[in-house]
Symmetry: C2
Subunit: 454 residues, 2 copies
């Protein structure tokens, strides 16, 4: 929803070139709110408003502007001005942004940036997407362990406005290896002892990630240890940056969306739903739909084998969808419960025996329950002349629901064991397998009951 | 996975009553790590180790111990000792914990707590679960706007060890109304101007939530504004507490799990999968399975109406599972894409027209694609004598997949419009509706083609 509250005023200020009021607008609110109020402006107008803001303010608002508009601004304005803006953005946001900008523009921008920022961009760009290296920021407070509390406060005060977080001071040695961490909390509490060395204050048991760790691992550690930020070290254990909690929140939201999409057999989208092109969307969905279609062909083959039985007892056909959807539904319940329990760490591979035992009981309970309904349904639509045939549907439902819970629970475990993402063992897959088994079970139960009663 | 690395050493230290080493163990690592190393100990042993730690250290480790063991410790040890421990826990964790402890134990503990802590617990317990009030902590730095930077630093230093976050100083007036916020970053940067008043430093445009706001709304705001903590105000806009980013991370993980469970037609579990009793689990699954079963009964009714056509053309039966699973799969893809896009705010109700138009195109594209496969499948298993009948399956697939994408995309929007959680419009529901429509479409296409060709 676009906030249109101040749009007329903003446009009027722009028309009047009212510098005083536009500058006031740029600093009156939280940068995210300022950006919200500008949502209705086009890229050129947005940039015009930002021209009136001081460089630091402009840099604080810019990250909250929609990505499309950011790219538009970057691509269509004077490179030198843009380079100033880009140089002042947080290093991690900057790299993400440049990844979306046309390559030739980035090539023109890079030489205009200060050396340090340019190197930083090239270094961060080198890490594959989805790794700690690609998420981290390099703007961080590094101090030596011999510094006193007084000097550390001075250093912190000087850097406070620039660095990504002041919550932790990272203590490094001459070779950039991480020696320890001092929280701002501890430093502030120690103001009364200004001559204390950081060495006395620092925690030496530091939880860190390496540059190539997966972003899910980063999120897990930050959440588990309740951290504000986690340090990142390279393959030689040198301290290269930090990842802050706000980036972890973004990852958690992204991963939750991706998992949900995988569970529903959509290859995860890189962009938002509305911004993904129909071509990309149809490719990401079509691939899995086709795979599932070929899986479902086996149901046709299975039914083909029981042609004679079906032709002879036509009421059997009526319950085919009911049987396979009952199996599919109980299977996707089990699969989702196990996938989410593994994602939060509640279930690990070592729990497989407990999981299977629980799902065995669940399958019998739920199947037994549905069998009661199935018995009633048989009365209504099913065999009218042969009472024993009323048992076909109930027996089938118990077996099919049991098959559903066991397949649904064990396939994600098997996938995890094979080193694959359990979310790919998505519900449609479980349902596909259970569909085929369901038909085979249904037909065999029917044939056996026919044999007993004839 | 239980970390067994130090278990023998820990047990030996306990047996020897080695106070020095046990105290050393309690402070050597991050409290979360210390708790991990004790995972293999039972509740009594864990409590024995904690006896050797200083009270503040004990209070820092305790929140990381597994909930079962926490409850066991609370319920089975001397009330006075336990009261000391409980009094020192962070207010929000404390309330969560006491909710899980047997009521009579809580009644015995409360009178043993200091007045302030007791009132705090009773106040926080009054808020319904899932609201901002139930999530917040009351331990926070409150200062007046006339304080100087120097005095604020002193006040902060004094409280640093106790409060939940030092990242923000909250500026309140005499009636506890929030006047503004000063970030620790700004305060530290202003150390060079010790006589500046906080009034000059504070942000007055403060994003806050009210005590009864839903936890999802809290998470959305914290993520959107990249906050470390968000202030909570009561119905009279008085400042009552804050919610910190680590609690928001927990909420995001919890909500992702709940949404996934709802999508798969399981009523969300309150506890982890393995700790939920089989009775509870079968109730939470059985309710939805039964609802879906009755929905699926309509497929039997639908098929019953086309009894004659099916008896006459037996190959039609073979493709029933294939047709309904193709519709169900494309429907759950659409539903999940729209549910996740709404959860992240990428799609709002106002976008309904764009969504429906996109899914119309997607349905035709994907349906057309599957129709090609369907044509081939008809050759293999289908009508062998009547070439025109080869068109039945392809035409059906286009229409069924289109029905799937349109139902899948629009039902979550309709649910949101009615004020319900779109995740409840779970994939099995969409699949259930598409199953019935799929059968009706399939049979009508067949009857029409038969009519043309006869």
């Amino acid at each position: 929803m676009v906030n249109t509250l101040y749009l007329p005023e903003l446009r009027e200020m722009l028309a009047e070139e009212n510098a005083a009021e536009l500058r006031e607008f740029s600093i009156a609110l939280h940068p995210a709110r300022t950006a919200e109020f500008m949502e209705g402006l086009n890229a050129a107008e947005t940039w015009a408003v930002l021209q009136y803001a001081e460089p630091a303010v402009r840099q604080s608002i810019f990250p909250y502007i929609g990505r499309d508009k950011q790219i538009d601004i970057l691509e269509s304005h004077d490179r030198a001005e843009i380079a100033d803006l880009v140089a002042g953005l947080p290093p991690d946001d900057r790299v993400d942004l440049l990844q979306d900008v046309r390559e030739e523009i980035v090539r023109e921008l890079l030489p205009l940036l200060p050396t340090e920022e340019r190197r930083d961009i090239l270094r961060l760009q080198a890490y594959p997407e989805g790794t700690a290296g690609a998420m981290m920021t390099t703007s961080v407070v590094r101090l030596g362990e011999d510094l006193s509390v007084r000097d550390a406060m001075t250093a912190l005060s000087r850097q406070a406005e620039e660095v990504e977080t002041i919550y932790y001071l990272y203590i490094v040695d001459a070779t950039d290896h991480l020696r320890g961490v001092v929280s701002a909390r501890k430093l502030v509490a120690a103001i009364g002892k200004p001559d204390l060395r950081l060495r006395e204050l620092m925690e030496t048991d530091v939880t860190s990630v390496t540059t190539l760790d997966d972003q899910e691992e980063v999120a897990r550690k930050v959440a588990h240890y309740d951290l504000h930020a986690i340090p990142v070290v390279d393959s030689e254990r040198r301290f290269v940056g930090i990842i802050t909690h706000d980036d972890v929140i973004d990852v958690l939201r992204e991963e939750a969306t991706e998992d949900a999409q995988r569970i529903a057999a959509v290859a995860p989208l890189e962009e938002s739903y509305l911004r993904t092109s129909l071509i990309t969307l149809s490719r990401k969905r079509g691939v899995w739909l086709s795979v599932l279609f070929f899986g479902a062909l086996f149901t046709a083959m299975a039914l083909d084998r029981y042609d004679a039985a079906l032709a002879q007892t036509s009421w059997l056909v009526l319950f085919i969808p009911l049987v396979i959807s009952s199996g599919g539904n109980s299977g996707s319940q089990s699969a989702t419960l196990i996938i989410t329990a593994m994602a939060t760490g509640d279930v690990t591979l070592g729990d497989w025996y407990r999981v299977v035992r629980r799902e065995l009981v669940m399958g019998l309970l739920l199947g037994g329950f549905l069998a009661l309904f199935g018995f009633a349904a048989s009365f209504l639509f099913g065999p009218r002349h042969e009472p024993a045939h009323l048992l076909i549907l109930p027996i089938t439902l118990v077996l099919v629901v049991l098959t559903g819970t066991l397949c649904g629970a064990s396939l994600p475990l098997v996938f995890r064991r094979l080193g694959l993402d359990p979310a790919i063992m998505s519900n449609p897959f479980v349902a596909g397998i259970v569909d085929i088994l369901g038909i085979i079970i249904y037909m065999n139960v029917a044939l056996n009951v026919f044999a007993w009663t004839s």
